[in-house]
């Protein structure tokens, strides 16, 4: 992508020479990439190429793991989220996350799951409205509006995942990170989530990891291809508009991957 194009685009989130480690092992190396505001960026690549680890660096959840650390910078609206004075909790409120497997909080009701990270200090009515908005945004409202007080564990896997999306949406973040959000779902639930992602991009900047190339082609505006080098360090190979990357990849490794020659 040329500098002129990059400047034209409104970039909310960017990384600068970002590397991630587990102890001594470097899992992601020197990734510099920018994410366009209110667009869906897909991170694709074979298993073990570091795409999930990279995603987890973007809201500082990587460092929660034992012995995990990060080098380089992540800029949110120009501000480095790894700067000394920055509170990771504040960052995670601005950059929400949806995980590979649905992880609703088992002891909270559907309603409380939705509101667990919503703004504080709302009255009953406002809280309920907030929950309804978030659940509607996650295309789940009609299915749960009559059982808001019941356990999320009674929902299907796809519904649980949409509840997790609603929970992230209710916190009103600017960026939504999604780590293979449909990996544990059946094709119908997957289609629902994919449709949802396209709609959520009107409001949020979305970065989604997927190992499913068709999914990347269907839902994303921009696609980034990652690959592990000989040392097992995940590198960014190229990033481009999805349509271009899938039709005229700039790197032969990308072409090999999307044509199914490996991975």
């Amino acid at each position: 992508m040329s500098a002129a194009v990059a400047a034209e685009r409104d970039e909310l989130l960017a990384t600068d020479e970002l590397s991630a480690y587990y102890g001594d092992r470097k899992a992601v190396g020197d990734v510099s990439i920018a994410f366009t505001r209110k667009a869906v960026t897909a991170l694709i690549g074979p298993s073990g190429c570091g795409k999930t680890t990279f995603l987890r660096c973007l809201n500082r959840i990587h460092e929660v793991g034992f012995d995990a650390r990060v080098e380089g910078r992540v800029l949110l609206d120009g501000q480095d989220i790894y700067a000394g004075a920055v509170d990771p909790m504040a960052i995670r409120r601005r950059i929400g996350m949806v995980f590979q497997r649905p992880n609703p909080f088992p002891t909270l009701s559907i309603l409380d799951n939705t509101l667990v990270c919503a703004a504080r200090g709302l009255n009953r009515r406002q809280r309920f409205d907030c929950a309804e908005r978030a659940l509607r945004a996650a295309a789940l409202w009609d299915e749960v509006k009559d059982k808001l007080r019941s356990s999320p564990l009674r929902l299907s896997g796809g519904q649980q995942q949409r509840l997790c999306i609603a929970r992230a949406v209710a916190a009103e973040p600017e960026v939504l990170l999604m780590d293979e959000p449909t990996a544990s779902l059946d094709p119908i639930a997957t289609a629902v989530i994919e449709e949802l992602m396209a709609r959520l991009a009107d409001e949020f900047t979305i970065v989604a990891v997927t190992h499913n190339m068709q999914q990347a082609a269907r839902v994303s505006d921009v696609t980034a291809f990652m690959l592990a080098d000989e040392a097992g360090v995940g590198r960014l190979v190229e990033v481009d508009d999805t349509a271009r990357l899938f039709t005229k990849p700039g790197d032969h490794r990308t072409e090999d991957y999307i044509t199914g020659r490996f991975g």
Binding site: F105, P106, T107, L153
Partner: protein, 289 residues
Amino acid sequence: MTVAALGQRRLRRRRVYGSLGTALALLCALLAAGALLAILGYVIVQGAGAINWSFLTALPHPVGVPGGGVGNGILGTVIIIAIATAMAVPIGLLTGIYLALFGRGVIPEALRFLSDVLSGVPSIAIGLFAYAVLVAPLKHFSAVSASFAFMMLMLPLLVRTSEQAIRSVPQTVREGALALGMSNLRATVGIVLPTARPAIITALLLAIARVTGETAPLLFTAFGSQFWETNPNNPMAVLALQVFTYAISPYPNWQAQAWGGALLLIVAVLVLSLGARLMLRRAMQGLES
């Protein structure tokens, strides 16, 4: 001999060994279960006759006076265990949380090791310790000193099981909470602990069951009493202690009451263990779906 015939013979031999092994295992299982059932049956036969309303509610009668009961011992057991639980739960739970969340390094490993050692210390040694710390300096026996000894017996169980319970909460749940911008404290207290609660309550019930029948530490802490004692600073009657005293007495009336007391203790432990199992089953169901 053909290969097929050889294979047939081997197969037959394996079948014989297989059924022999099964039979042996079954026999051992019957022996183990049989021993438990024999104890239970014998205690019921010997003790059921002693149990009636006044046995459960009356004070002990002096030697030679028929009747009397262990009401004060039941009350004392409840009081001493309640105080022990009130002391052990906060300490054990907080240690368990600490080990589960920050469980690497020298200090947590040392804590785990000490906790395992403590769980292996004979209860009479713990009773002696309570005597040395709380009875000898104050120059009187007391229920609190018994509670203190019980707390020491409950602690290792609570520490290790609450650590396990918190660890068994999927990491994805904790990460989900943190990834939404919750503080570590709020993620632990608001999300992880409630998810682990059934397993923690199970551990607590088992810990209570463990001390309910303990007698040795009581000999030189609670000491026993003939009265309705409710002040934890005084010596107090305890059911297990009464069973001990009555059982070694030469009086048939007291010996019968010892069996009755033993039956009560067994029933109490049985009920607690069953409750623990039920809680655990509920917890498993909750996490599976």
